[in-house]
């Protein structure tokens, strides 16, 4: 187990290091000479040389990379060229909105996907199964930002029961906050729930046909127990992995959903930074997303081996 853990941690670290090189190279590939941008009015050769010396731009590239990494590791991403505020604190300001959106969407997705997936598998071939499978296919094919526009049309403009856009902080007014987050969470969560539904249904069908489920039934366990503690428990393994793999999609989806519902989150910050060519913010956003994504995948991996003793044993044996 410990060997497995260390190996996975090592692999994640290598991925992060290479990713940091990619981001660093990407920032250097951006058009424009940073020294010129920093110089402002005084663009004499002397002033430029002084700036290059001050920011280490005259150093060899590998040296620049190590210096840059040193700053980044300490959480120093520089400051936004638009607002002058620190990139780190700007991102931290926006993160809670996105995290809340992601959390509520996951709740919707797992709640819908797992429960309907189990129902469809247990009643295979029934109306519920067909209805669920059809809904999942539709859910996979609907572009969720369009679904967002249509729901705004229906619930905000047509019925006038929910706000179309905007954000109220959770601690300022929890009820109003949820009213604003409901549509975005449903929009982002339903597409996700289609994927989870399909995986849950397939995994449940597989485990319902195994010998241990037959044994459980043969020894007279209630169907609830057979489904709940035997079949579902084993099916959840693959579902957990899937959720981990899909988190990147969730991040991408959050950016779009924030744009549709004008939520002042991480995604909105990212897009604004791109359109305003605010390079330090772009760099910080890309780097933090990547780190977060790799770390979450590492945690999912750990969770997976905790949940599944077979993996643990097999990995130790090698």
């Amino acid at each position: 187990m410990r060997g497995h853990l260390l190996r996975r941690a090592g692999a994640s670290l290598i991925v992060l290091l290479v990713a940091s090189v990619v981001v660093f190279a990407g920032v250097r590939a951006l058009p424009g000479d940073p020294a010129l941008a920093l110089a402002g009015e005084d663009r004499s050769a002397r002033a430029l040389t002084a700036i290059r010396a001050k920011y280490g731009l005259d150093q060899p590239v590998p040296v620049q990379y190590v210096r840059w990494l040193g700053h980044v590791v300490r959480g120093d991403f520089g400051s936004s060229t638009r607002t002058g505020l620190g990139v780190g604190s700007t991102i931290l300001d926006r993160l809670p909105v996105t995290l809340e959106l992601a959390f509520l969407s996951l709740l919707v997705a797992v709640g819908l996907g797992v429960s309907l997936g189990v129902l469809a598998a247990v009643r295979r071939g029934s109306v519920a199964d067909y209805a669920g499978s059809t809904a999942a296919l539709v859910g996979l094919s609907v572009p969720h930002f369009w679904l967002g526009l249509m729901l705004i049309l229906l619930f905000a403009i047509g019925l006038g029961v929910l706000p179309a856009s905007g954000f109220v902080p959770l601690f300022a007014d929890p009820i109003d906050n949820l009213r604003h987050m409901l549509l975005p969470a449903v929009v982002l969560g339903t597409g996700f729930s289609a994927v989870i539904f399909r995986q849950t249904r397939a995994a449940m069908l597989e485990s319902l046909s195994t010998d241990y489920v037959r044994t459980a039934r043969a020894k007279g366990l209630a169907e609830r127990q057979v489904v709940g503690s035997h079949a579902l428990r084993n099916s959840l393994l693959t579902v957990v992995t899937l959720i981990g793999l899909q988190l990147g999609q969730l991040i991408s989806g959050a950016v779009v959903t924030e744009q549709v519902f004008v939520l002042p989150g991480f995604g909105k910050l990212t897009l604004d930074a791109v359109f305003q060519r605010d390079y330090p913010v772009i760099e910080g956003v890309v780097l933090l997303t990547t780190v977060g994504y790799v770390v979450i995948n590492f945690v999912v991996d750990l969770l997976y081996s905790v949940l599944n003793p077979r993996i643990r044993v097999a990995e130790d044996a090698t």
């Binding site: 692999a11 951006l30 991408s252 779009v256």
Partner: protein, 290 residues
């Protein structure tokens, strides 16, 4: 029977059988038909569209559907139906080109990793892990920041996103196939690596790769729409379903039709490829065959 018949006939027969089996699945046939309609509309766009998609007419803006404009007009008086038809070009271009790009890069990498193993395998696998560390939208954002937004960058961003997944699938298939008896027989007969890869491994994983393509094309269609909606993709005035939706957003309470049709087009195009893909997977992928 000549030698040619012996080698070719079984494959032709298999293909015919595949088509027959696909024909027995109404949903897959429906998917194939709708997808074909979109492809034909995209290719013949100038003939299908009743108006020039760029023609503005300030005398009739934000009109609902009517006999002269079946999907109405937008805020500049342009015919929405013509723009939806031309928008199919951007969508399908992104869908097909991104998938092709990913296949061209990923399949050789997967083959090499799975067939040769050795030090190739861990190097290629770690490299795909690095690409996987970047969520799709982050790749697209980075590319838009460096090169500016365009359809070409959309294609590259979507292609790069698909590469690691296709490498994994190809590698897995290659790993399984290289242990098969017919590959061992070929090796024993003195076949070179190139012959084995091209004549024995690749044709036998064609079905799986075809299913992968039908999985990625709809994803790329939605991806293009998302990026163009965000302003990171196709730039106006070139029509694209995503950018049409973002242009419609400010007018949504005035003219709901404007936001309806481009979204329906994305939905139908994606659904048709998904239906086709599900059908093909049921036929070709032995793991889901029940």
């Amino acid at each position: 029977m000549s030698a040619v018949d012996v080698t070719v006939a079984p494959r032709v027969r298999t293909r015919r059988r595949m088509l027959l089996r696909l024909g027995r699945r109404p949903m897959a046939v429906a998917g194939l038909s709708v997808a074909t309609v979109f492809v034909v509309a995209a290719i013949l766009a100038p003939l299908v569209a009743p108006y020039d998609p760029a023609d503005t007419n300030f005398g009739s803006v934000l009109q609902g559907p009517s006999a002269s404009h079946v999907m109405g007009t937008d805020d500049l008086g342009r015919d929405v139906f013509s723009r939806v038809v031309f928008g199919a070009r951007a969508s399908l271009e992104a869908g097909v080109l991104a998938t092709l790009l990913a296949m061209v890069v990923a399949v050789p990498l997967g083959l090499v990793a799975g067939y040769y193993r050795g030090w190739w395998d861990p190097v290629i696998s770690r490299a795909t892990d690095v690409v996987l560390a970047f969520p799709f939208l982050i790749i697209a954002v980075g590319m838009a920041a460096i090169f500016g937004p365009s359809l070409r960058n959309v294609v590259v961003a979507l292609g790069v996103t698909a590469i690691p997944w296709i490498v994994r699938v190809t590698r897995g298939e290659a790993l399984a196939l290289r242990e098969q008896d017919f590959v061992r027989a070929a090796i024993a007969n003195g076949a070179g690596d190139r012959t084995i890869l091209a004549r024995h491994l690749l044709p036998n994983m064609a079905g799986t790769l075809l299913v992968q393509a039908t999985v990625w094309i709809p994803q790329a269609i939605i991806g293009e729409a998302v990026l163009s909606f965000l302003g990171l993709g196709v730039q106006p005035p070139t029509p694209s379903w995503g950018s049409m939706l973002s242009a419609a957003q400010p007018f949504i309470s005035l003219d709901a039709w404007l936001a309806l049709f481009p979204g329906l087009a994305i939905f139908l195009a994606t659904l048709s490829f998904n239906l086709l893909g599900d059908g093909l997977r049921d036929i070709l992928d032995p793991r889901t065959r029940r």
